[in-house]
């Protein structure tokens, strides 16, 4: 018997497909998320909108909080570690959590190196804005990806931009002949073997969700129609007027993403969405998506 193989790491992400992963900051919120049909929860001390508002250094959450959330639900639990902070990752693994998000939402601990994720038994999800970044993360051992979007804004524009960029990069690879892939790998700053694999498959070799700015059922369905395999919703649920109802609606819209009548039905009377932020009003140094390389 072999535990924590590449197949089981990628496999858990495959089981989450078509689902919604929700940020929660208390065990009560975790239960609301599970009740609403979330496939997993992300255990955090502060949702990205609050991290953005309050500033300061954002770190891994208190292990006591992560464990309390783990104890409250039966679905998988994820927790965030800072980019490059392999000891935070070791701590989360020691807690017996199901997945680590090496996340740009937290303040990076290393401005050159991401965590060497091959050294861990626990699987990792990482953010990406383009194909080169996605493949560098896979080379480091990420078993799942999410396009970054811009977390804590309630504005889906960056999620759309990042996913369309990844897809465009993949389509360009597919149009190349095999001689051109060597230079493509150089330009993407990604390992040749992965570039070749993507050119053959026409898709990423691991599951890719959307994240960062999804606030409504229509946002979730938009990303699904564009071709992502599931969605992360951070601040969008518990910063809205009626979190339980909005959570349920986003779950239904993610499943029935191709059925506008159902999306219309579940979008009715959801109450106040989170207040959104326009990306061009955020000072450049506060953009989270630019963290990571």
């Amino acid at each position: 018997m072999e535990t924590s193989t590449w197949t089981t790491k990628v496999g858990l992400a495959q089981m989450l497909k078509g689902g919604v992963i929700m940020d929660v900051v208390t065990p009560e919120q975790a239960r609301i998320a599970e009740e609403a049909g979330a496939v997993a929860v992300m255990a955090l001390e502060r949702v990205p909108a609050d991290i953005r508002a309050q500033g300061g250094v954002a770190r891994m959450s208190d292990p006591e909080l992560i464990s309390a959330i783990k104890a409250a639900v039966t679905i998988p639990v994820m927790a965030k570690a800072r980019i490059g902070h392999f000891v935070e990752a070791q701590v989360i693994e020691a807690l017996g959590i199901d997945y680590i998000d090496e996340s740009e939402v937290l303040t990076p601990a290393d401005e050159e190196h991401h965590i060497n994720k091959h050294k861990f038994k626990i699987p990792f999800v990482c953010g990406c804005r383009n194909l080169g970044e996605a493949l560098r993360r896979i080379a480091e051992g990420a078993a799942m990806l999410r396009t970054k979007g811009e977390a804590g804004t309630g504005n889906v524009v960056e999620a759309v931009r990042h996913f369309r960029t990844v897809q465009g990069d993949i389509r360009r690879l597919q149009s190349m002949d095999e001689d051109e892939l060597f230079t493509a790998a150089k330009n993407l700053q990604a390992p040749y073997e992965l570039v070749k694999q993507v050119a053959e498959l026409g898709k990423l070799p691991v599951v890719n969700f959307a994240a960062g700015g999804i606030a409504t059922p229509a946002d979730a369905a938009l990303m699904m129609q564009l071709g992502v395999e599931g969605v992360f919703v951070g601040s969008g649920i518990f910063k809205s007027g009626d979190p339980a109802r909005r959570a349920r609606a986003i779950v239904e819209a993610t499943t029935h993403y191709n059925d506008p009548e159902i999306i219309a039905k579940v979008s009715r009377g959801l109450g106040e969405p989170m207040v959104g932020i326009n990306i061009d009003q955020i000072p450049a140094e506060q953009l989270m998506a630019k963290r990571g390389w």
């Binding site: 197949t7 089981t8 689902g19 679905i75 239904e252």
Partner: protein, 190 residues
């Protein structure tokens, strides 16, 4: 013959890819009108709480129960096996919607957290002598079976990982994540 995959959540594409390799084009079942088109249904791996909730919400529980085992053969993998079980152990607080079709008790997440997910070859005598690659992801375990249910595969520990009751089939592992399509072919003959 039309084969459906319950497409509410989970590894739908992985099952679909195996069926396409076998020359079968599956129907994605999200609503009762899709269910009416199929006489075989695969319930994929995923989260049983999510799939169960959407089954109940979109009025699929009764139409499935009415036809199950008669003109509708069903195979549940992992979360699907949980949904087929009459009794669920370690269910979500407050309970969770299920189909309650096979006379067996299934414990959710029986081996621990994701860190305990594992791969192990297993013997499934109805498929011949060559062991089947077993991929277990936060897997459930079939703890007890009633007289109508046959155990088709067990781990060396004795844990039942595949079971059949007439035209209903449950596996706690994921043949769709491997290149071995024997369980899919077995289901298509069921």
């Amino acid at each position: 013959m039309s084969v459906g995959i319950l497409a509410l959540q989970g590894d739908i594409q992985e099952h679909s890819a195996v069926l396409l390799r076998l020359g079968v084009r599956p129907v994605e079942v999200r609503l009762p009108k899709h269910l009416a088109e199929v006489n075989r249904l695969i319930i994929p791996g995923g989260e049983s709480t999510t799939i169960g909730r959407l089954l109940a919400l979109y009025d699929l529980v009764e139409p499935i129960r009415a036809r199950a085992g008669h003109d509708l053969a069903i195979w549940g993998t992992c979360a699907g096996a949980i949904l087929l079980a009459r009794t669920i152990l370690d269910a979500k607080q407050g309970g969770q919607p299920v189909l309650e079709l096979m006379d067996m008790a299934v414990r959710r997440n029986a081996y621990g957290s994701q860190l305990d997910s594992f791969e192990q070859p297993l013997a499934m005598p109805v498929l011949g002598e060559i062991p089947l690659p077993g991929v277990f992801i936060r897997a459930p375990q079939i703890e007890t079976i009633g007289p109508a249910v046959t155990a088709l595969a067990t781990l060396p520990s004795g844990a039942i990982v595949a079971a059949q009751q007439g035209r209903l089939l449950a596996t706690t592992f994921h043949p769709e994540l491997t290149s071995d399509d024997r369980v899919h072919r077995y289901f298509l003959e069921l």
